[in-house]
Amino acid sequence: MTITTKVFGEISIDDERIINFPGGIIGFPDLTQFAMLHDEEDDVASIHWLQSIQEPAFAMPVIDPLIVMENYNPEVEDELLKPLGDIKPEELLVLVTLTVPQDLTKMTVNLKGPIIINAGNRTACQTIIDGEEYKVKFPIYDILQARKAGE
């Protein structure tokens, strides 16, 4: 199918690449279908885009949380993952959204509201992690700078 995207204009994707969010994402219950997009020529720190199928202007950059926090390991109740169906550990994908304001020093990731994807059946949800351990606005500028320096 052809979809209109925020970053890549009009593109064609296989239907099998669509990820279903039965409950939408938090605050946007109507956005139930997304595609994960990636600019292969412009591979920067593994940033992918979670692009809404229904709303072309809605796309969030997402990254693997382990890039910015090695020991990220939030506890999620099994029941909350039931709508995702049977998940094989190797098909469980956890991503966090990235907020990139003009002033990069204020760049953050949302560790408290991760996106959890069952890659096996392409079903996903966004959940909220209980407790104070993980922040909604976790600063990452210094972490990315340090990673770069270490490369």
Partner: protein
């Protein structure tokens, strides 16, 4: 909004499968017990709104070009 008065230990039933009970009333604070199917997500609204705002903020990627530049070199 539907407004109903309840006393301590009184409950409400929503949609046949959600029960909300007033457990304790102490000054300005009310302790509420919720019994619901386990796949029903229940969040404190202020936390929910924080995540919603973070989702909105993530969509405005003003600094993405600058970030790419920063990571390139």
């Amino acid at each position: 909004m539907l407004a109903l008065s309840r006393k301590k230990n009184e409950s409400l039933i929503i949609n046949n499968n959600v029960e909300i009970t007033i457990l304790e009333i102490k000054g300005e604070q009310v302790k509420i017990g919720i019994t619901a199917p386990k796949d029903v997500s229940i969040y404190r609204k202020e936390v929910y709104v924080q995540i919603q705002d973070a989702n909105k903020a993530a969509v405005d990627t003003d600094g993405m070009a600058a970030l790419k530049k920063m990571l390139e070199h």
